[in-house]
């Protein structure tokens, strides 16, 4: 199948996916009574006497299909509703919150994938040697660490113990004031990228300094997973007949491992890496909260916590689109890694 028609087919598939996801979430919200949903609009207990008016105004007592239809009609007109958590329309809140999350993901994913693949490969190549044991111990430790615990520990050590060495937040006060001023142009709202585009070294360094702890927290946990996956995938590859042939031919062990075994072992890792990126890009709730790096994960968590239904539905739409796109990219990547794979047809 041609790449273009494959992409079109997958994008069209997005429509039923989005309808299904929103129907499901909308259906869950309808489990709450109209009165309960009306209280979601309440910001002050003094509004309690206004609940009947709120129910009438937003049609909260109308049949499910009417309410869903109204919401869908608004979505098609670009109106996703008002985000109480973001104090802005949902359609604005998503792009507003995304850069912070994306910035963490952009820095964390290469670290997670490259380090995970490297150590996973080394571990498999040195099976049952000290390096393998060390890698497995670190992987188990990393995978077992709760992110809130690791995040707090890192914060206490590198911000508390070392007196403000690696602070939380996205920028220090002077740099924060600078980027909010007219002297600095916000292109992407990702501080590192904007600093490069503005040719501003101090902001870049400051932004990187603030990224170290959240990226480390996320990386340690996800890296451990990739490491273990890569190791088992590599061990499987290394046991295959073509590896024996390659070794019998007298090929250098580095070539055998890095070229012949690793390339085939990468397929499951690519799949998982795609999901890791999608997971991070749709938010790392705990990391964003602990390090006050408020991105889309924090926003979605707050929305869920406060039952901010328009935000929850908006986030569901965003996540569904993101996962479909990432799946698409992963599928295309398969064909590059393994020539036997054909788009839409599996392994030939």
């Amino acid at each position: 199948m041609e790449l273009r028609s494959y992409i079109i087919r997958r994008v069209l598939l997005l429509i039923p996916v989005l309808l299904g996801v929103t129907l499901f979430i909308f259906g869950i919200t309808m489990l709450f009574t109209p009165l309960e949903r009306a209280t979601l609009y309440v910001t002050s207990i003094r509004q309690l006497n206004n609940l009947p008016a709120i129910i009438e105004r937003y049609g909260l007592d109308k049949p499910f299909i009417v309410q869903y239809g109204t919401w869908l009609g608004q979505v098609l007109r670009g109106n996703l509703g008002w985000s109480q958590v973001g104090s802005m329309p949902v359609a604005q809140a998503i792009p507003h919150q995304l850069p912070a999350t994306l910035e963490i993901a952009i820095f964390a994913v290469p670290v997670i994938v490259l380090v995970g693949i490297f150590f996973g490969t080394q571990s498999a190549a040195h099976k049952d040697k000290p390096l393998d044991h060390g890698t497995r111990i670190v992987a188990i430790l990393g995978w077992s660490l709760p992110s809130f615990w690791l995040g707090l520990i890192l914060l206490m050590v590198f911000y508390g113990l070392f007196r403000g060495l690696l602070p939380p937040g996205r920028l220090s006060i002077p740099m924060d004031i600078l980027v909010d001023s007219a002297a600095f142009t916000r292109y992407t709202h990702m501080n590192t990228i904007d600093a490069i585009l503005n040719l501003n070294g101090p902001v870049l360094l400051d932004a990187l300094k603030h990224l170290i702890l959240p990226v480390t927290t996320i990386s340690v946990i996800n890296m451990a997973f990739i490491m273990r996956l890569m190791r088992s995938s590599m061990l499987e590859s290394l046991g295959k007949g073509y590896i024996l042939t390659a070794r019998a031919k007298g090929l250098d062990e580095r070539v055998v491992v890095n070229k012949h075994a690793r390339r085939n072992a990468l397929i499951p890792v690519i799949t998982v890496s795609g999901y890791v990126f999608a997971g991070l890009a749709s938010g790392a709730v705990i990391t964003e909260t602990i390090f006050s790096f408020k991105g889309i994960g924090w926003w979605a968590w707050q929305a869920a916590f406060r039952l901010d239904i328009p935000s929850i539905l908006g986030f569901a739409l965003f996540s569904a689109i993101l996962f479909v796109i990432i799946n698409l990219i992963v599928d295309i990547l398969y064909t590059r890694v393994d020539p036997r794979v054909r788009l839409g047809q599996g392994v030939q």
């Binding site: 509004q47 490297f118 580095r254």
Partner: protein
């Protein structure tokens, strides 16, 4: 595979393990290490900038909409009203946009002379037309469907609670320009001037720039289509994130929902020297550890500390704790006098030992028995960390007409037994009862109150079964509104420091809490109505003393405690003045100073 690679990889792994080993002891530092840390103190940073880290976030910067403390705080930094509170007093006022005022002898109007040469932050001079527009605008906007603070103007001026039925003429007659330089408020009947001044001192009384508002597409000041601007949706507000006030600071940027930055208003009428900071930054940080470390690193000058964590900052060098601040809030437990029959929280719905009937709490002996079963000492010690005081009614200390000698209940097992034995002709004692107490999930203080009551009731009679169930906040509110709760627990923050703002929600027929509790007492209603509009202070004292007595004798509910607040600043901040009516933890910023010395 080369040995060089394998060694390098092993070294990296060892490095990671070493990092973990460093981290463990660092996080469980011993007392000695802690002392060393404290001796270093907090570094002085960010001269000229006041930084606070707190929780919550701003709902709106529009004075007509904002009804939460986070929004109110920022509005009050950027806008000023006709008057403001004088220091820590809640009944003495300083002229801001007004320089003098005259109260009519019959109490039916107040006239404010507008201060000349007051400028907005963009340099425009404030005129009496701006002042008139400001009050007419909030009355026109009045977001009553979604709640909102403007009922506070409507009640004294037009004897209604919202704008749904009012006419333009009524609004125009309520607020008028007189003598070309003054604004007159005409009350529908005599109204206590102090109460009205307190209302004016709130964020809803802010003076806005008429020209700026109209440029933003807000109400043009005409009456033909005024309903187009009435009762708007949140997203339709033109001043939601734009401000132009006469206050000491101006909006620099509001990075929703992370922080808000304000800069010194270079046109402030008291002069820029009166404004102690070049910038004020409020960061909204959810994680307590992060806020705490910011304070200790000198990156924040003030942090919000949850009650359960106040011990974390005790004795740390460089941290200034200002404590025992009598907040005007109160938490209380309410009895539901007419529970919805279909409530899932009353067991069988009968007095058979497996539930309670819908009118269970109409018997005063039940209410009294339960009240005698609550232990305030345990509650204040355990739930409030000792930083609260018991009060006998919703009229708390710090309010005018608070009766320091008002009667209070205390934990008394014998009296509880006596009352329970008399309740429902002895059936309560013989058969027992069963119901569910709800608290809003995550609120440990309220959970503890429920546990104390449930355990004590069980100790009095094992047939008294009270289970505890958390519910998300919105769920709690809807359950309360639908009258499903047997008893409910909720807190109150005042709009203004007058007892009327407490007795109405707690005791009036149809009040915010007494309504869902189905409490109704014609004597109480008559007293509340008279107290709200009486201008005779002696009579008001009689009324509110009597209401405090009724709350006790009629056992309307269980007032739990009036919290005592704390503020945690670095040692570099001076001049904090506590006023319970100020929104936000720092209070009026004009009183503060920050210096390394």
């Amino acid at each position: 595979m080369s040995k060089r690679f394998s060694k390098m990889a092993l070294l990296i792994l060892m490095g990671l393990l070493c990092l973990a080993l460093v981290a463990f002891p660092a996080c469980s530092s011993t007392g000695e290490e802690q002392e060393e840390e404290e001796e270093e103190g907090i570094p002085y940073k960010n001269d000229g900038i006041f930084i606070q880290e707190t929780i919550g976030d701003i709902d709106s910067l529009d004075p007509a909409w904002a009804y939460d403390t986070a929004s109110g705080e920022q509005i009050q930094h950027m806008y000023e009203g006709l008057v403001g509170y004088d220091g820590g007093n809640t009944d003495k006022f300083l002229g801001l946009a007004a320089d003098t005022w005259t109260i009519a002898p019959d109490g039916k109007s107040i006239t404010f002379h507008i201060r000349p040469n007051v400028k907005f932050s963009n340099g425009d001079t404030m005129t009496v037309n701006d002042v008139l527009y400001s009050f007419q605008r909030v009355m026109v906007t009045d977001p009553y469907s979604n709640g909102g603070p403007i009922w506070m103007f409507y009640f004294p001026l037009l004897d209604v609670y919202d704008s749904s039925e009012v006419t333009p003429e009524q609004i125009q007659n309520a607020v008028q320009i007189v003598n070309g330089d003054s604004i007159k408020f005409n009350f529908v009947r005599a109204y206590p001037s102090t109460t009205f001044m307190q209302i004016l001192a709130g964020s809803w009384g802010s003076i806005v720039n008429k020209k700026f508002c109209i440029e933003q597409g807000d109400w043009p000041g005409t009456w033909d289509n005024w309903k187009n601007w009435n009762d708007p949706e949140h997203e339709a507000l033109k001043l939601n994130d734009k401000t132009m006030g006469t206050g000491p600071f101006a909006l620099e940027v509001w990075n929703k929902p992370t922080d808000i930055k304000l800069v010194k208003n270079q046109n402030y009428w008291q002069g820029t020297a009166a404004v102690p900071f070049d910038r004020v930054i409020t960061k909204y940080v959810d994680e307590w550890s992060s806020r705490k470390l910011s304070l200790l690193a000198g990156d924040a000058d003030l942090v919000y500390c949850p009650r359960t964590n106040i011990g974390d900052l005790a004795g740390i060098a460089g941290v200034q704790a200002i404590k025992d601040l009598p907040e005007l809030s109160i938490d209380a437990l309410f009895f539901n006098f007419n529970i919805t029959a279909t409530s899932p929280y009353i067991g069988s719905g009968k007095l058979d030992g497996n539930g309670v009937p819908t009118d269970f709490f109409t018997d005063i002996n039940v209410r009294r028995g339960i009240t005698y079963s609550f232990n305030w000492d345990t509650y204040i010690t355990q739930a409030m960390q000792g930083e609260a005081q018991q009060v006998g009614s919703p009229i708390v200390q710090g309010l005018p007409y608070f009766n320091p000698n008002a009667q209070k209940y205390s934990y008394d097992k014998a009296k509880a037994e006596e009352n329970f034995k008399a309740a429902w002709g002895g059936q309560v004692w013989d058969k027992g009862f069963k119901f569910t107490l709800i608290y809003n999930a995550g609120n440990l203080v309220r959970k503890t109150a429920c546990e104390i009551l449930a355990e004590n009731l069980q100790r009095i009679n094992t047939k008294f079964q009270v289970s505890i169930q958390p519910k998300v906040w919105s769920g709690s509110l809807s359950t309360m509104r639908s009258k499903q709760w047997a008893m409910f627990q909720i807190g109150w923050l005042p709009d203004y420091a007058d007892p009327d703002n407490y007795v109405v929600p707690f005791m009036a027929t149809g009040g915010t809490f007494s309504g869902p509790a189905s409490y109704s007492n014609p004597v109480v209603d008559a007293l509340i109505a008279e107290g709200a509009t009486s201008i005779d202070t002696a009579r008001r004292q009689q009324i509110y003393y009597q209401l405090q007595d009724i709350y006790y004798t009629d056992v309307v509910g269980i007032p739990l405690a009036q919290p005592l607040g704390r503020r945690f600043f670095t040692k570099y901040i001076d001049g904090f003045i506590f006023n319970p009516c100020n929104s936000g933890p720092a209070g009026n910023l004009l009183y503060l100073t920050k210096s390394a010395s």
